[in-house]
């Protein structure tokens, strides 16, 4: 809500400004044109081409022929695709929930003042910036069933050794642990930004009224940072759906196809089997899944803002 108000006043001021200086209005389009050309070449063209490829029978090195909706129909009856969709949704929901929880907790801690806060926050942000492949490599070593440090740590507290990414049952939760480790800081940063915009006064009067810490969090902090939580949720969902580096570098979708998400299946189809027609169809459907989920979340966000405005 605090994000909307300045925009609105900015727009009205701009409108007034425009009506006064209409004849002097400078031309800003030349600034944008080069970027439009580049975006057209590396973003719009690939999309148009992908759509076209997806209605063709086309394996690299063989001749191409028009296929109509064939690839899409094949997709609908492809068990491996449906399996990968389930993996994607499982992976995504876990990789959104865990960072959201830990990120919010971390933000509440880092919003307070304490010794070495800046240094600790710096270290906390590092996983997000570290090169994913390097991260995946070290985690693979830590997950090693015999020599890995994680099983040793588990043994210290009496938990039996796990097979982590080497077992079909535990591979997705293990990958989610890495994703959570890496992306909790982004949630923390967004929520921290929200906490910084929370005014002090309501808490002072709540304190006087005898509200305890949990009540203050539940009825004051949480509603005020709700828009920021929503933004974090949307960004995290998009990123988790698209996750590739960590999964590919650690398991390539294995063992078997136990951790094969749509993105990995897309990669395998296009660049292992060179079936680019079918791969393009997967890309199109995958994109639709991402846009649909983001759209649902955006609608929720608008609703939460609306409720927010009503509440005010």
């Amino acid at each position: 809500m605090s994000a909307i108000a300045p925009e609105r006043t900015g727009a009205t001021m701009q409108a007034i400004g425009e009506s006064q200086t209409i004849r002097l209005a400078p031309n800003y389009w030349p600034f944008v044109v080069p970027a439009l050309v580049v975006v057209g070449a590396v973003i719009v063209f690939p999309w148009a081409f992908t759509l076209w490829m997806s209605v063709n029978r086309w394996t690299l090195g063989q001749s191409r022929s028009f296929a109509g909706m064939e690839n899409y129909l094949r997709l609908a009856s492809d068990p491996r695709f449906w399996e990968s969709l389930v993996h994607t949704l499982t992976y995504t929901s876990l990789s959104v929930a865990a960072p959201m929880f830990f990120g919010t907790v971390a933000a509440l801690i880092f919003d307070a003042r304490f010794p070495l806060r800046g240094l600790l926050r710096g270290v906390f942000v590092m996983p997000m910036m570290a090169t994913p492949v390097a991260v995946a490599l070290v985690w693979t070593m830590m997950f090693h069933p015999q020599l890995g440090v994680l099983n040793y740590l588990l043994s210290l507290i009496g938990i039996p050794a796990q097979e982590w990414i080497f077992n079909a049952k535990t591979v997705i939760p293990s990958l989610v642990a890495v994703e959570t480790w890496q992306w909790t800081p982004l949630v923390m940063l967004i929520v921290l930004g929200g906490l910084a915009s929370v005014p002090r006064e309501p808490f002072e009067s709540a304190e006087i009224d005898g509200a305890n810490a949990w009540q203050q969090f539940r009825y004051l902090t949480l509603p005020m940072i709700a828009p920021f939580l929503m933004i974090a949720l949307i960004i995290r969902t998009i990123d988790a759906l698209k996750s590739f580096d960590i999964i590919y570098a650690m398991t390539q979708g294995g063992p078997g196809t136990a951790s094969e998400t749509i993105n990995i299946y897309l990669y395998n189809t296009a660049f292992s089997y060179y079936d680019i027609g079918y791969g393009s169809a997967i890309a199109v459907v995958f994109f639709i899944v991402i846009v649909a989920l983001s759209f649902i979340l955006l609608m929720l966000r608008q609703r939460s803002q609306w409720i927010d405005a009503e509440g005010k």
């Binding site: 975006v39 070495l116 942000v125 698209k242």
Partner: protein, 273 residues
């Protein structure tokens, strides 16, 4: 007073707990990279070995052409970032001044699009023009990452810079280009620094484009490290050393430019919804 002190100590330890996975991970990474094979295979695991295996780092550069791959990474990231700044800073300015909020949607869609879906068509395109053996395919496709970041950060930045000076210069008869170059650009320097840092980091870390487009001579560092894992002897010390070499520049940048990175990411994120 003492209860406040207790409170601070409590918060410090809570923070330590939540940061500990990051601390332990990086400590373990360093430890792995400095141990001989025998110490890396020891059970229970050893954190600090008696003898440090500095030779692991020497091996990385001697045996795997790492200097070439480092240079490739510098070229790809450097060129893709400079091009993105050249194109993206004016674009961010134009979009902010035009109040063209729809163009922000294009960038949002770029963010939603999985990198792989650019790869199939651009791979074919690069094959047809015959530039597949060079670094250009990777530089061009990295623009998919760097241009949206730069435009995004710069829109946010130019929206907050004051209009009055620009309007005054405009009334004094300066052309749009002069206003941009002499008035808007100098004020936006901190924003450009943020855009530069974020663009460098995300381009440097990129893996998916290289894994498809790079040949033996054009690998970037993340791809080179991944290939070590899959094809070379699986010897943990040199592997961990290689992983550390790849990610060290980014981590150092993160430590030194923490403020700018936080500002850029949260600005981008908060606008991102």
């Amino acid at each position: 007073m003492s209860s406040r002190l207790l409170n601070q100590i409590g918060l410090f330890f809570a923070a330590l707990v939540i940061v500990s996975p990051a601390i332990l991970f990086f400590l373990w990474m360093i430890s792995l990279s400095l141990k001989f094979e025998i110490d890396n295979g020891a059970y229970p695991p050893i954190l600090i070995p008696e003898r440090f295996a500095w030779s692991n780092y020497v091996k990385v550069f001697e045996e795997n052409n790492f200097l070439l791959y480092l240079w490739n990474s510098v070229l790809v990231t450097g060129t893709a970032t400079l091009l993105a700044l050249l194109i993206g800073v004016p674009a961010g300015y134009g979009i902010a001044r035009l109040k063209a909020e729809r163009s922000a949607v294009v960038i949002m869609i770029a963010r939603m699009t999985p990198g792989l879906s650019y790869l199939i068509p651009l791979f074919l395109l690069f094959q047809w023009i015959g530039i597949l053996g060079t670094l250009w395919p990777q530089i061009i496709i990295h623009l998919v990452v760097t241009v949206p970041i730069v435009v995004w950060v710069m829109i946010g930045y130019f929206e907050t810079t004051p209009m009055e000076l620009e309007e005054a210069a405009n009334i004094d008869g300066a052309s749009s280009w002069q206003v941009f170059r002499l008035v808007a650009l100098p004020i936006a320097k901190p924003g450009i620094v943020v855009a530069f840092i974020l663009s460098v980091i995300f381009s440097w870390n990129n893996f998916v484009f290289g894994v498809v487009l790079a040949s033996r001579e054009t690998r970037t560092l993340p791809v080179a490290v991944y290939n070590m894992l899959s094809y070379e002897q699986v010897s943990w010390g040199p592997l961990a050393a290689a992983a550390l070499v790849v990610t060290l520049p980014v981590l150092v940048l993160t430590m030194f430019a923490q403020k700018q990175i936080v500002a850029g990411l949260t600005a981008g994120a908060v606008k991102g919804g």
